[in-house]
Structures are given as structure tokens and as C-alpha cells.
């Protein structure tokens, strides 16, 4: 407690004269078509975008994309027949076996390809990271232009959430890009019309 008081005392003593916050902190991004921009951005960051009409069509597409893969998991009840790995585990370490995971998420951001996912959509926070491959499904209509719009939309009050943009990557070895560092090795975004 003593340290806290001492730090705050020094800050009060040393801080500069009060300034005010800028009146405007948001800027509009003008895109001809938000969805095309979103797809273009995601393609550039090694992510495939698949547009589907409904969950049945998504199940068919998933069957094609991940044919022959075992340890498939999902949080989407309509895909339960497709999945063969239950997320009903007590210890998140047990999720390490998952090869492909399809999750519901909330919305996307066109300028950077990020998709918001949070505790609202997840039984375990580690899921989008521990899986070998990841697919996120969002409503086709849920794409905003930029991060200002994103935070305006974000009313999520859960304990944890994340903007995920593309698969996990690193360029730490001589600046050569390697996709699949610690998290997902591949990423697919499903845009679902009847979500």
C-alpha cells in the first residue's frame, strides 16, 4: 500500500498541466463494398473466406474442406453431426487434440480482417489458440468498416474477448513469414447468410 501511495504522490507532483482529450477520435473509411474489402484483406493475410447460405451449406463445405480430418470440434449445434470431438471437457489441456475447430463469432472488420470472438461464444478461452486449424462463422451482414466502427459496435461485457486476424504467424527467423507459429495453422472465415 505504501508503494501505491508513494507512486501516486510522485505522479501528482510531477505530471504536466491538464490537457483535454481530442473531441473527435473516429474516422470513417470509405470502401466501395465493405464485404469485398473484408475478403480482400483476409486473402492478403492467408485466410480463405467462404460465403454460405445457411448451416446446412456450411456443414457441406466443412465436409469438403476438412475431408478425412479427425478430431473435429464445433460450438455450432447444427454442425454436431460433422464433429467427432466433444468440447465438454473439464480441463482445457484436453483440447490439445483438436485438429479443426469451427466457432461462432460476432462480427468482422473490413480494414484489417479481424473478427471479434469472446467468452460469449466459447466454453474455453484457449480454444481458438490450441486448435491446429480454425474456422470462424459470422453473420454475412456483420462486417464493419474499421476499428472505430468496431469499438462502437462492441458492447461485449464478458471477461475476455479477442480480435483475431488470420492464422498464427511469425517472421522471427530472418524475416521469413511462417504461418502457424503457436496458434492455428490455417484460418477460414464463413460468412453465413441465415445466421
Amino acid at each position: 500500500m505504501q508503494t501505491r501511495e508513494e507512486m501516486l504522490r510522485k505522479i501528482r507532483l510531477n505530471k504536466p498541466e491538464r490537457t483535454s482529450l481530442p473531441a473527435n477520435i473516429r474516422f470513417d473509411s470509405q470502401y466501395e463494398d465493405t464485404e469485398s474489402k473484408f475478403i480482400e484483406t483476409l486473402t492478403a493475410i492467408y485466410t480463405e473466406v467462404v460465403i454460405v447460405k445457411n448451416w446446412e451449406e456450411l456443414a457441406v463445405k466443412a465436409g469438403e474442406l476438412y475431408e478425412g480430418v479427425v478430431n473435429k470440434a464445433t460450438t455450432i449445434p447444427e454442425l454436431n453431426i460433422w464433429a467427432d470431438f466433444s468440447l465438454n471437457v473439464a480441463d482445457p489441456h484436453e483440447l490439445e487434440m483438436i485438429e479443426i475447430l469451427i466457432l461462432k463469432a460476432e462480427f468482422g472488420v473490413a480494414e484489417n480482417g479481424a473478427v471479434w470472438i469472446s467468452d460469449n461464444y466459447l466454453p474455453h478461452r484457449v480454444l481458438p489458440f490450441i486448435t491446429q486449424n480454425l474456422a470462424l462463422a459470422i453473420p454475412r451482414s456483420a462486417i464493419v468498416n474499421n476499428m472505430h466502427d468496431a469499438y462502437e459496435r462492441l458492447t461485449d461485457t464478458t471477461g475476455w474477448g479477442c480480435f483475431i486476424a488470420g492464422p498464427s504467424k511469425t517472421a522471427d527467423i530472418e524475416q521469413s513469414l511462417v504461418v502457424g507459429a503457436h496458434g492455428a495453422r490455417s484460418m477460414v472465415i464463413f460468412l453465413v447468410e441465415d445466421f
Binding site: F27, G113, V126, T158, C162, A181
Partner: protein, 458 residues
């Protein structure tokens, strides 16, 4: 670690011995700078964004105490434990005690320059705690027993052959392997095992949000999340300047951060931690370690606006040609050179001189820190405080004597030119620091002044 510290100029000399290597280092970083340019130019509002970010950070400096108190209150309401640390030693003790309370002897850590600044790994290791750095670049330098050379690209000073040799020795990869894909895969397997078995995770903090009590951690690899979501206890360490007032301000900063750092539109993972998951403990350590002092230095306080993007390093002609380790400080490059003297003026007196004052750092800074002005101002402070080495003082005094006396200046110019023409070996030798890595210019026959005087007469 008991090696005596080489001054920046000396260390750069060593770095510059291998010319093709220096060229490669220089070009690699310049390439990152170019990616930043390309990415920033796609946003017409880029300059306004920088100005907005700068104003938000100015406000933060002026309301620091209130924002920290607000953040603490919100975080506590969210079920997060908040600790305050006056210095590196207190920070390290807090971490050690938390681990001891849980009987934990091994921890994973994602990138945190603050823990580098606090030399936490060494301290914990002396106290029987095994710390594994999980960012690939950081793991590489950790295995080599050296600090990161860049805050965003920790292993940027290494060639893939160095990393291949290192992994062969420590991770058992094939001898002579240099394929980045193969080497990164080996590291993935090696570190997955650590993630699966460690019960504690420490992360840094990119932004702490006062109005929600949340903190944001950005990575490309996903290592911060892998660590934090699997561990029983998550410790997040932050310098107090990481605070921002509102969640919506993240819109401004996240648009600037990755574009400035690597040219990406955003990092792959931007995780907002607010509450611990069920059964987990979450701790935040708010660290001072000299920051309150820096806040009181009117000329230097706005160095605390830094969001650690590394753009100033990538653009700096001195950093690119001298390497991060030459700066002997956790944060290298231009920003490191204005932060370090605050921590220790004697030890870091050389750093503000490791610059040409070209101003490129200030031009790329996403929060508009006047880095090159501060470098210049630190020189005055350090010289006045007697921290500048004598030889530099003699040189500066000699120069001021010559420049303040026009006749003497004319005479010495003439003398210099004639020496360079008639006995060039007098300047083209290793005793002349200007001759290092470059040839001396052809001396002109007459000075501009002589030419001017002559032409005026005609």
C-alpha cells in the same frame, strides 16, 4: 552477464567489421520501414490518427494518477488483483512471491520489455524458477543467453544459419538445417510442450483501459493467449504509462500499432483480458521504475507516450548499422536512447550521441514523440552533469573555439585542405574517426568564402 559494457560507438565498431552482414541488417530493417510506409499510406487519415493518438497520450500524462486509480478500481471489481511496484526489485519480488504461494517453479512468458528492463528472468532463475520465453524470437535469444536486439523483432540480428545451429544444439533439429518453416515447426512443438505443462503465465500489456479495467495484449504468434488461458495464474506486468482512458481509444491505437511496427493492418491476436476465467487467478503489476521521475522532466516526459512499435528503430540509420545490442539497454534505438538516461545517466550517457539527429524517428513515431529533439536535449543535460567522456568534451571545446573565431576558422580550414591534398595519410589513417568505414572527401581547392570574396571583387 558480468561483461563490462561497451560504449555504443565501440560496440558499433565491432558490429561493422563484417560489411556484408551490416548491409544485410540495414536492408532488412529498411524493408520493414518500407512496409510501414506502404501500409500507412493506405489510410488517408494517417496523419490525423497520429495527432489524435498523440493528444490522447498527452492527456494520459496529465491525468495519470486519476486514470490509474480508476483502472485499479475497475480491475478489482472484475476480480483481478492489482499490485504496485516502485522499482525492478519490487516487481520481481511480487512475481516470485506469487509463484511461491502457488508452489510453482516453472513459468511461460510472452513478450514483455518491462521484464527485460527489470532483469526478471535472471532474478527468478537465481531463485529456482525456470522461465521460458515463448515468443519465437525471444526464445531464440534466450537460448543464446543474450537479450533481444529489437523490441518487436527480438532476433533480427541473427541469420537463419545461426538459428539452425542453435536449434540443432538445443532442440535436436537436423544439423545444417536453415529452412524457416522447418525451424519454426520445431520451436512450435518444443513450446507446445511448455504451454501444456506450465501452471503460470506472465504477459506484457500493450494497453490498459481505465474505464473497463481491461488490458490488451497483442501478438502475432498467439503465445500470450496460449500461456494465459492454460495457466492457473496469469500475471500481467505493465509500466504505468500503458494506461489509456477509454475502450474506444483502442480504435485509434490498434490502427496505428501494427501498421507502424511491421506494416500489417493489425496483429493476428488482440486479446482483451478483463476477468480471470473460472478457477484462475489474474494479477496486474503496475510498475514505476523511474517513470515518475521521467514524468517530472518537462523536456523528456513525453517519451512516456511510447506504444513500443519499434518504427523509430527500423528507420534509424544508426540503429540499422549498429544493431540493437550496441545500445546495452532493454529498449534500443532512438526511443531507448531517450528512455535509458533517465534510468542511469552514467551508464547510458553515450546513447543520446548514437544519432545523427536526422529526425526520421520523430517523423515515423505514431504518437508524435519529438525523439530527435530529446536526443539533442539529453546531450546538453548529460554534458552539464559531467557524464560526457573527456575526449568528447575536448573535441567539442576545440570545435567551439574554432567556430567562434572567424579568422582562426579560415586559417584552420585552409590548413586542413592543404594537409589533405599534400599529406593525405595524415587524415587517411585509423586515428581519424571520420576515416572509419569511409574515404575522406576530395578536398576542394578553395573554400566557399574564398570563392565568394574573389567573385565579389570581379
Amino acid at each position: 552477464m558480468s561483461k563490462t559494457i561497451m560504449e555504443h560507438s565501440e560496440a558499433s565498431e565491432v558490429f561493422n567489421r563484417d560489411e556484408p552482414y551490416v548491409d544485410w541488417h540495414d536492408e532488412t530493417l529498411w524493408f520493414v520501414r518500407q512496409k510501414r510506409d506502404k501500409s500507412s499510406k493506405l489510410l488517408p487519415e494517417w496523419e490525423e490518427l497520429r495527432e489524435t493518438a498523440s493528444q490522447i497520450k498527452n492527456y494520459v500524462l496529465s491525468a495519470m494518477d486519476e486514470l490509474l486509480v480508476q483502472f485499479e478500481q475497475k480491475a478489482k471489481e472484475n476480480g483481478v488483483h492489482v499490485h504496485w511496484a516502485a522499482n525492478a526489485a519490487e516487481h520481481n519480488e511480487i512475481v516470485l512471491n506469487l509463484l511461491k504461494q502457488h508452489g510453482i517453479t516453472a513459468m511461460v512468458k510472452s513478450k514483455s520489455m518491462l521484464t527485460e528492463e527489470c532483469h526478471m528472468n535472471e532474478f527468478l532463475s537465481k531463485n529456482g524458477i525456470d522461465v521460458i520465453d515463448t515468443d519465437l524470437g525471444e526464445r531464440i535469444v534466450q537460448l543464446r543467453n543474450e537479450p533481444p536486439s529489437h523490441i518487436v523483432l527480438p532476433a533480427i540480428h541473427l541469420k537463419k544459419k545461426d538459428i539452425g545451429d542453435l536449434f540443432h544444439e538445443h532442440l535436436g533439429t537436423e544439423a545444417g538445417a536453415t529452412d524457416p518453416q522447418y525451424l519454426a515447426e520445431a520451436a512450435r512443438q518444443h513450446l507446445r510442450d511448455k504451454f501444456m505443462t506450465r501452471r503460470a503465465a506472465l504477459t506484457g500489456v500493450n494497453f490498459a483501459v481505465a474505464d473497463t479495467g481491461a488490458f490488451v495484449v497483442a501478438t502475432n504468434e498467439g503465445n500470450a493467449d496460449m500461456g494465459a488461458h492454460l495457466a492457473d495464474i496469469h500475471i500481467a506486468s505493465m509500466g504505468f504509462e500503458k494506461i489509456i482512458p477509454k475502450q474506444e481509444h483502442l480504435g485509434v491505437f490498434l490502427r496505428l500499432l501494427a501498421r507502424s511496427a511491421t506494416g500489417q493492418p493489425v496483429t493476428a491476436y488482440n486479446s482483451h483480458f478483463k476477468k480471470p476465467r473460472e478457477g484462475q487467478e489474474m494479477h496486474i503489476i503496475i510498475v514505476d521504475n523511474g517513470r515518475t521521475t521521467q514524468l517530472g522532466r518537462a523536456d523528456f516526459r513525453n517519451s512516456l507516450k511510447c506504444i513500443r512499435c519499434g518504427a523509430c528503430m527500423n528507420t534509424c540509420p544508426v540503429y540499422r548499422r549498429s544493431g540493437g545490442h550496441s545500445y546495452h539497454n532493454a529498449v534500443a534505438g532512438p526511443i531507448g536512447s531517450i528512455l535509458a538516461p533517465n534510468l542511469d545517466m552514467t551508464k547510458n550517457a553515450d546513447l543520446p550521441f548514437a544519432s545523427t539527429l536526422c529526425g526520421s524517428c520523430s517523423n515515423v513515431c505514431p504518437v508524435k514523440i519529438d525523439i530527435h529533439d530529446q536526443l539533442y536535449k539529453w546531450r546538453q543535460v548529460l554534458a552539464k552533469g559531467g557524464h560526457v567522456p573527456q575526449t568528447k568534451g575536448i573535441g567539442i571545446r576545440a570545435m567551439s573555439m574554432v567556430l567562434s573565431q572567424p579568422r582562426f576558422y579560415q586559417w584552420s580550414g585552409r590548413l586542413g585542405r592543404s594537409v589533405m591534398r599534400t599529406v593525405p595519410f595524415m587524415v587517411n589513417n585509423s586515428l581519424n574517426p571520420w576515416y572509419k568505414q569511409r574515404d575522406m572527401p576530395e578536398p576542394p581547392k578553395e573554400s566557399f568564402r574564398d570563392w565568394y570574396v574573389r567573385n565579389r571583387k570581379e
